[in-house]
Each structure stands twice: as structure tokens, then as C-alpha cells.
Amino acid sequence: MSAIAVSTTINGDEVEFLCQAEETLLDVLRERLGLTGAKEGCGTGDCGACSVMVDGRLVCACLVLGAEAEGRSIETIEGMANGDELHPLQTKFLEHAALQCGVCTPGFLVAAKALLDANPDPTEEEIRFWLAGNLCRCTGYDKIVRAVQDAAQELRGS
Amino acid sequence: MAEVNLSAALAALADNERQIQIEAKDIRELFRKLEERYPGLEPVLKNDVAVAIDGVIYRDNWSKELPDDAEIFLMRRLTGG
């Protein structure tokens, strides 16, 4: 079976890669492009550790085929900071100790950014339900929710 | 003279004695004397036993001194998660 040639945009950069038909976007990011920030916690869309944005929609990269990336715009955790300037969500996750083992953190950050881009002033309940697809086994979510609330406030400039 | 208490499983290897009087200055000496008196204890004392001295559990420390009149308790070692 011949490989599929794909042209796409990742974190603003034009990227071309070859992949097999059955490879997922997560496989491509991690194994072919060296972008290992998205993690595979389940491979079935149940944990959110591989959260990325595809054309502005939050998705699990494990449930997207690599070939589907053709012509699309993909954003990953690696593109979240602007050079050495962290995104306010990243800063607040650090300040609130919103991570312990940290393996779920990239997925949470990508998902939380998608939330705040769409809804700058979410309630605690809205945050919790939006992030329900991101599993964390260490923190009990408390400090994560607080970090998102605090980042939202900072981003609103209040 | 220390009073050494054994858990039920360990007592089975020591002629079913639950309490033993032993003169020992540290854990190493305690183990040596126990082995002499109850050869059945030797394999478990090697790796499987922790010593509680006045309620504080020591797992690996032969040099730990046994205070006079200390309460000594031998139990199987712990692990955790």
C-alpha cells in the first residue's frame, strides 16, 4: 500500500508528511513529526490527553486520521506559547499547581484554551462540563478549575 | 532487656512464642540472637521483617539502637502505592 502525501498547517507552519491510511493524526504528530506533547492515554477518545484543534474545533487526535489533515489547520500544545512567552493558561496552571504527574496537562491546556476562546467568562459548571472529556487522575480537578478561572479573569483584563 | 513481640505468622516460626525477652543493643544483635534461638526465623529475618521500636517502624536499619525497656514488635514488611 502506498503512503498518502498530506499537506497541512501545524501551529501556523506549513507541513508535509507521508502516512499510511490507517495512521491517526496522533500517530503522525508523535511518530512522524516529533510533536509528542499530545499523549495517548486511551486511543479511543475517552481521556482527552491527545486534544488538539483542527480547523478551530477541539478534537481528540486519536480519533482523526492523519490523511484527514490535508488542507486543514492544526494547533497543538507546542504552539500555545508565543516564543518564550507562556500563554496565561500555562502560567496559571503553574501558579496554581494544577498539575501533578502532568501527562494530562497538554490536553487540558488545549481544551481550556478552546473554551476561553469561545467563552471568556465561563461559570465553574461550564468549565467542569467543557473539560469533562479530559481525565486527570492526580488532582481531583480542583486546582485545574481554579487555574482556568484565574486565567479567564486575566484574559478578560479584569 | 527488651521485650520482643511477634506477629502470629512470625510466632509460628518461633515455637509459637508471642513474647520473647532478649538483651540486644541494636537491631542487628536482636536478629542474631533471634536466629540463634529460633533457626526457623532466619529466612524471614533476612528480608521480610520490619521492626517497630516504641511504635516507630524500621525496615532496613540494623544499626538502630534499642532503648532500654523499649517495646519491640516484629512484623512483616510493608509496601505501599
Binding site: 486511543g43 478534537v59 480519533l63 484527514e68 462540563f129 473539560l131 | -
Partner: protein
């Protein structure tokens, strides 16, 4: 496995029709990619239908709305028009999986996956929704409840694709609602799902109703006696009790990892009562 991304529905249909081995249409992929993980999975062809013009659109005509097969449930949830007309359908579609799943999954895919526990299907059935099907032998439009025939099996012929889901415009004083039971608050497959759609007359009496149950039988059930239990009433306590009893009796559930027979019977009645109440309120009932 071969991956194709045709530009037209006819190309998609003929690709699928021409496949010798197993072939799958890929819309949201939130079910297909999960089964692809299975070591036993084997497919000759996957046809990605998302590049087909117009399939990602929600359209309005004078009589109906059509939801294209590639419209993600997240996009559906952003449609003010549909939220006003069919709030129960939209809330059911928005209960499928997580925010991430919402970004990909589609109601057409949810229907064609033919799971008895699919969240959007009871709401579509209660809404009287229709599936617009294209295929090598022409087009047809059928009620959505005729598509799933057994868990994982549909009535679609080889090469047939659901192009869109059609929802009729509503009479005034109508409302719908969907409730499901899951052990967590999110990220679960329905243990029981109940959808109610109803219309009221000027006096506030229920004139027509459709009640559908999910996850309590091999396919989603349209329970006609349940509708009869509330037609002609203002959803008084006696009517709601009758509705609950009828729904519990209509269930043919199994014991499995998600719930017991007894639990599913009892809770389908409870949810039917609660969903009917919400639909009634939405219809402006008092």
C-alpha cells in the same frame, strides 16, 4: 486499507458500492476510529465524505431543516435556528461524548452506527425525523427509525449513504426533550434514554405526541401507547404515572456492564415523566 476523499456524493456512493471487502463511510469517525483500534479490524476502504460540497451545512426550506451528514454536533449546537425549533434534538446531539467528540461526531453517523444507546436517535425518532439517502440505485427518504435494524446493523444497501437528516418545521405550541441516565455526569453511554415530542392545543391539552426509548431494546423503540397515555391530558400526575408505567413495560432491556434489567425498566419510566414535563413546558403548557 485505502483512504479516499471524493468530492461528490455519487463518487462516494460508487466507491463504496464497488468495494470488494468491507468499506466504511467516514464522517466524524468517532465510532469508526475506535473500532479500527481493534486488532481484528480489517477494512478495504474508508471513504471520507467531509469534502463533499454542502454536506457540512444546515439548510432551511419552507417546510423543513436538513442537517448535512458532515455537520458536527458542536456545529449543530451552535445553530440558533435548530435550538429554537428542536431543542430536544439539539440537546440529545450535544450529549454525545465529550467536547472533543462533539467537535467531530455527527447525528447521521450516530444513526448509522446503529447502537441502541445512541443519544441522538431517540430524539430524532420522537421528532419524526427522516433520513435522506443517496445510493447507486437512486435517492430515497425514510423515517430514521427504519435505519437501525439491530445493534450495529442498518437497513442501508451497499453503497448507500445518509446525505442528511431532515427535521420538519414545528407547529406552534410544540416542544421536545431528551433525557438520558448515565452513572457519571458526562462521558458515558446512555443506560436509558428517553425522548418526548408533543404538541398542545389552545386549551393546553396534548394533541399529539411521540415517545422514544433508547438503550432498552436492540433498537430504539417508538412507544405508541406512551403517546396515547398523555394525549388529551395536561400532563396531570395520573397521566404521567400512566406514561411511566407504559414506558417501563415497553422496555425489553438486558443486564450488562452498564445497567440491570430492573434498573432500566424503572428509570425509563422516571425519565419519561421528567422529559414529558420539560417538553410540555417548552410547548408553553401550564
Amino acid at each position: 486499507m485505502q483512504y479516499e476523499r471524493p468530492k461528490s456524493l455519487m463518487d462516494a456512493a460508487s466507491l463504496l458500492a464497488g468495494a470488494k471487502g468491507s468499506a466504511y463511510a467516514l464522517a466524524g469517525g468517532t465510532d469508526l476510529l475506535v473500532i479500527m483500534k481493534n486488532d481484528d479490524f480489517d477494512a478495504e476502504l474508508v471513504v471520507d465524505i467531509k469534502s463533499i460540497e454542502g454536506l457540512d451545512e444546515i439548510r432551511e426550506t419552507s417546510e423543513a431543516y436538513t442537517v448535512g451528514a458532515a455537520v458536527s454536533c458542536a456545529a449543530l449546537g451552535e445553530s440558533t435556528m435548530l435550538k429554537e425549533a428542536w431543542p430536544g434534538v439539539v440537546e440529545a446531539a450535544n450529549l454525545i461524548g465529550s467536547t472533543q467528540i462533539q467537535g467531530r461526531c455527527t447525528v447521521a453517523g450516530n444513526l448509522c452506527n446503529a447502537s441502541p444507546a445512541a443519544d441522538s436517535v431517540p430524539a430524532l425518532v420522537a421528532a419524526g425525523a427522516k433520513a435522506i439517502i443517496v445510493g447507486p440505485n437512486g435517492n430515497r427518504t425514510i423515517p430514521v427509525e427504519e435505519i437501525p435494524v439491530a445493534p450495529g446493523k442498518t437497513s442501508l444497501e451497499k453503497g448507500e449513504i445518509v446525505e442528511a437528516i431532515q427535521l420538519d418545521k414545528r407547529a406552534p405550541q410544540s416542544g421536545d426533550a431528551y433525557l438520558r441516565f448515565i452513572p457519571r455526569t458526562e462521558m458515558d453511554i446512555a443506560v436509558v434514554g428517553v425522548a418526548v415530542s408533543l404538541s398542545l392545543d389552545d386549551k393546553g391539552l396534548v394533541t399529539s405526541a411521540r415517545v422514544a426509548l433508547g438503550a432498552v431494546a436492540p433498537t430504539v423503540l417508538l412507544v405508541e401507547p406512551a403517546a396515547e397515555a398523555i394525549i388529551g391530558t395536561k400532563l396531570d400526575d395520573a397521566a404521567l404515572e400512566r406514561l411511566a408505567d407504559v414506558c417501563s413495560a415497553a422496555c425489553q432491556p438486558i443486564d450488562d456492564k452498564r445497567g440491570t434489567i430492573e434498573f432500566r425498566k424503572k428509570v425509563s419510566g422516571v425519565l419519561a415523566r421528567r422529559a414529558a414535563r420539560i417538553a410540555f413546558d417548552r410547548a408553553g403548557g401550564k
